[in-house]
């Protein structure tokens, strides 16, 4: 338990200390809101700023939580994981600590953007909305921290990892409806969006932020909040269930994989053979 808490605190400290990272993580979302909001003016959407912001917030939560992969790989390369490895600390506690800290950090980032968003276009009419938002940010954060941690345990080299990470994050965020409405995508990409978990996270989250919980299914589809896969409608609630299911799978996979991973494998030395035999 102490280990979980200590690692959680460590993650938060690292987040707060990284000022530059913090500032840029706030600038980028608004840059996206401005650019994409201007490009994709959609007649069906009543409040384009709020529409874009909700997508940007959830994309930020997603990217930030997936970043656990990077920080875990950094910990392996810097040797910190080796220190964990020779200590009697329970590995499962280490995994849980890392997951919780990543989920917390990503939720905090989401809250910061949301807070600024309140001044430029997001309005809540019900006091339950912020609560729902918080819950969904935490769950999305946890889900993708799980994915991130899972990726990290599969890494063989710190350098190739950065490329792989970008190659995974970019399409997942851009083809999810968060920045670009799905109906504007070409068919082939739209099919990709259907298998992208982020699509469902975005749809669900957007419905909550825009307070469209009581719209009919047809209306939801028109506003891009429910996903129409060739006539089969995935409602936001179903989306949430899908996300949670994916999340559970990855949380189990990642903790399991984390417990078994040999962290001494990822070494800063370019020559892995010498790291192994030296």
């Amino acid at each position: 338990m102490n280990t979980v808490f200590a690692l959680w605190k460590r993650g938060l400290k690292a987040f707060i200390r990284n000022r530059t990272g913090l500032i840029f993580s706030l600038i980028f979302p608004f840059f996206f809101v401005y650019v994409f909001g201007a490009i994709f003016k959609n007649d069906f959407i009543q409040n384009p700023i709020a529409y874009m912001l909700s997508g940007v917030i959830i994309a930020t939560v997603f990217e930030s939580s997936l970043n656990l992969a990077s920080s875990t790989v950094d910990d392996m390369v810097s040797g910190f994981m080796k220190e964990v490895l020779v200590s009697p600390a329970k590995r499962i506690a280490v995994a849980v600590g890392q997951l919780l800290s990543a989920a917390t950090v990503s939720t905090l980032q989401g809250i910061l953007i949301l807070f600024i968003g309140l001044f430029i276009g997001i309005k809540f009419t019900s006091w339950t909305t912020p609560l729902y938002i918080l819950c969904s940010m935490i769950s999305v954060g946890l889900v993708f921290s799980g994915v991130g941690l899972f990726l990290a345990t599969k890494v063989r080299s710190g350098q190739t990892f950065q490329i792989v990470k970008t190659a995974i994050t970019m399409p997942l965020t851009f083809i999810s409806g968060a920045y670009i409405p799905l109906e504007l995508l070409p068919d082939s990409l739209r099919y990709f969006a259907y298998i992208n978990p982020m699509t469902y996270a975005t749809a669900f989250f957007r419905m909550i932020v825009l307070e469209k919980t009581n719209l009919s299914t047809a209306e939801l589809v028109r506003e891009g909040l429910a996903i129409d896969i060739n006539g089969f409608i995935v409602t936001p609630v179903m989306s949430f269930v899908i996300i949670i299911a994916i999340g559970l799978i990855f949380l189990i996979l990642s903790t399991n994989s984390f417990v078994k991973t040999d962290f001494s494998r990822v070494n800063r030395s370019s020559n892995d053979a010498s790291a192994l035999w030296g």
Binding site: A6, K13, D75, S78, E83, V86, S87, S264, R268, S274
Partner: protein, 306 residues
């Protein structure tokens, strides 16, 4: 004396490659043990297996009577490890690094402060404790790691090349700390090093080559067995010296401008010197070094790892 590390018939294979081949040795409690060997000899494999990171292929490895394979957690709490590369969390301060370590090792909360002060005092870093690790020099980082490795009061401290890449002054300091530890806290120290003069300070040395232990003894005994003292003689009359050396059956090698003569039969050498004294322009006796021991045993020059 009680042996704290016991290794019996330890073998480690990577596929068909045998990294360590059936080695056995033991380390007595409270001593400094140096593990030497050229690169790729099986040093790190052995250390990593003892530290519970690698799995053995076969054999028994015990630390303080606990098996490193089946009683991992017991072993982990009895050992402190300082790896060759830094394993500090560079985003955090010295203090935070030590505190995190205390959490991992389940140190009671009320003892944490006292222990941090104790170990930092030991490595003279008490005044720097609030500094971020990223701002520390290489030598300071190593000291922090030694301090961290000690905070849970281990019985055995593993130091994988503790002084590699450090300047001579820092190296001397690190050794001061190591010797202090051994004396004051009776900690067993298991280390690897590339510096032969450092190996000489240790109580026992094992030299590993191609996965087997080729020598295991005190530095003094190894030196006696594997090195010879030599006399380096420069003479004005080479012919006469060669004749005398042959007459007294002294082995020698003629080098550019001097003769390297084995100084084992000291009485014969003295005879030769007194008979030849008018012609000697220079003489120097050199003691065998530990580098010679290493060369003699492994046939390889020890070299620094990249």
């Amino acid at each position: 004396m009680k042996s704290i590390i016991e290794v019996k018939n330890f073998t480690k294979k990577y596929g068909s490659f045998i990294a360590v081949n059936d080695i056995s040795f033991s380390v007595e409690e409270g001593t400094i043990f140096a593990f030497l060997g050229p690169n790729g000899a099986g040093k790190s494999t052995t250390i990593n297996t003892l530290c519970t990171i690698f799995e053995k292929t076969s054999g028994t490895l015990l630390i303080n009577g606990k098996d490193v394979t089946t009683q991992k957690n017991e072993v982990r709490s009895t050992i402190g490890v300082v790896f060759q590369d830094s394993t500090l969390d560079s985003k955090m301060t010295i203090d935070e690094n030590l505190k995190m370590h205390c959490v991992f090792y389940n140190i009671p909360k009320k003892e944490v402060e006292e222990r941090i002060q104790f170990v930092l005092n030991l490595v003279d870093l008490l005044d720097e404790r609030k500094r971020s690790v990223a701002t520390l020099s290489g030598g300071m980082k190593r000291r922090v790691e030694i301090a961290r490795g000690l905070i849970h009061y281990p019985k055995v401290l593993f130091l994988d090349e503790p002084t590699t890449g450090l300047d001579p002054q820092t190296r001397a300091h690190i050794w001061e700390y190591i010797l202090k530890l051994q004396k004051e806290r009776n900690i067993t120290i298991f280390l690897t090093t590339h510096y032969m003069e450092e190996a000489e300070i240790c109580n026992k040395i094992a030299i590993i080559d191609d996965g087997i232990i080729v020598a295991h003894d005190t530095p003094y005994a190894l030196k006696k067995e594997f090195t010879k003292d030599n006399a380096y003689i420069t003479t004005k009359n080479e012919f006469e010296l060669e004749q005398l050396l042959a007459q007294y059956e002294l082995k020698y090698i003629k080098k550019e401008g001097y003769y390297k003569v084995e100084a084992e039969k000291i009485d014969c050498l003295l005879q030769v010197l007194s008979l030849h004294k008018e012609n000697i322009s220079n003489i120097e006796i050199k003691k065998g070094t530990f580098n010679d021991v290493f060369l003699e045993i492994t046939g390889k020059k020890i070299r620094e790892e990249a």
